[in-house]
Amino acid sequence: MIVVYSTDQEKFKKLSGFAQTLSDEVIGVAPFRDNHVKKLIVAKTEDLAVETISEQRPSLVLLSEGKREVTVGARVAARLNAPFSSSCNSLKVEGGKVVVERLGFGGVVKATVELSTPAVVVIQPPDSESREFETEIHEYEGKGKMEILNTKRQTSTVNLQSAKVIVSVGRGIGGKENVKYAEELAQVLNAALAGSRPVTAELKWLPEDRQVGLSGTKVRPKVYIAVGISGQPQHLAGMKDSGLVIAVNKDKNAPIVENADYTVIADAIEFCKAITEALKK
């Protein structure tokens, strides 16, 4: 039996569909109601999710990518005395073992890991069809070990995972006041605006949900334009699977050059201004 857990309704649906390709017996655990599984247990907090998932005694727990999911998954694994793997992008069952593929070392290395069952896996599932059911819903009540004083949902400013074109900004843009030149380029291309970790999490030139990279969102647009991004492994880990990669950088020796189809050796701001004008025509 497989338990699926996600705190995101869209991801929950996708994950349930994937789980149903592996087993007929799938139980969902989520903080919301949903009808893409036969049986759903609503658990509002991480503590409650850990309790109820562990109680099901599953042979496999699948969780979607996300910070809460990783936390819940690792805790469940400890409860079940089961191996755990996160950030996986493929999974198959072979001779009673679960074999996953994931990236490691900042995305430089692909690792194949074999887990004995029961196993707990955080995965970005392949696209699978998800059916709707007459779902049997249970509410899991209880008290956790931590008290939640308040939760602020920062308005999400972008959906990078579904963007077809992304213009991404790095430190090389020079300052917060210059981000607008990349933004204007993004607008004419109908692209999403993203940024590297320094620009988002550290310097706050852009909101944090726009971070592409190992600790941000992993994206795979048709076209990825990296403006003033040197190409640290942590950043590359988040954009390697993009279709076409175009970089704009002053430095011919920046690591991004090795990871781009085309690198324009130019000043980031001047280039953004000029190409935005050209594309408007």
């Binding site: 070392f105 430089v108 890991v113 939640i148 076209v223 050796i265």
Partner: protein
Amino acid sequence: MTLNILVAFKIVPDETLIKISGDKVDLNVPVKISTYDKNAIEEGLELREKYGGKVIGISVGVNDRKTIREALAMGLDEVISITPKTYADALATAKLISEEAKGYDLLIFGESSTDGGDSAVGPMVGEILGYPVITYVRRVEIQDGFLVAERNLTPEVEEVKAKLPCVISVTGEANTPRIPTLKQIMESGKKKVVAKEVEIASSSRLVNLTPYFVPRKKVIIEGKLEEQVQKVVEILRGNL
């Protein structure tokens, strides 16, 4: 109150120096304290400065003297270094740390390591010990035996409270790790390191490691700005 803190840090190959040749990955490169584990150490030190107490470090895996000394030079009081004889996965590592983790008020981990990066060991240790688990913490304070923390769960920010002892993992934005002074580096040699070699079984196995790269054209476009722009516009038109 004073705090007894245990900080876990992992010694990992420097991922920026990993060499790829053909289908081989060469991990035999200089090691370092895993990036966010430095934030864990720093958080422990800042809490000690604020509330008093001790900060002990624990590291499972590579037993590199120089790197352990760097952690001591940052300000840890002592380090427990555990070297498993065979591969220890996250759960095995968590079990080893749990055995050493009793009696502390607070256990601090980094949000993720830069090698495997499962983000699992901290939450697993918390679960094994039955402590509250608070991950992705960017701000923390202690109030009358309770820990109050702000978690960054992009796009959510959550403020939580839990009774000590507990386990936290800290993010890179929690603080700026200090760089030890020459004097601290000199003195770190006198600090205690408890080294142990242990046997532990893992229920997962690394089957193989291969380089991961997507072949790229690597074309450099130089010259006049107008010409560069013209070229990129053509490329974009052909791909959108």
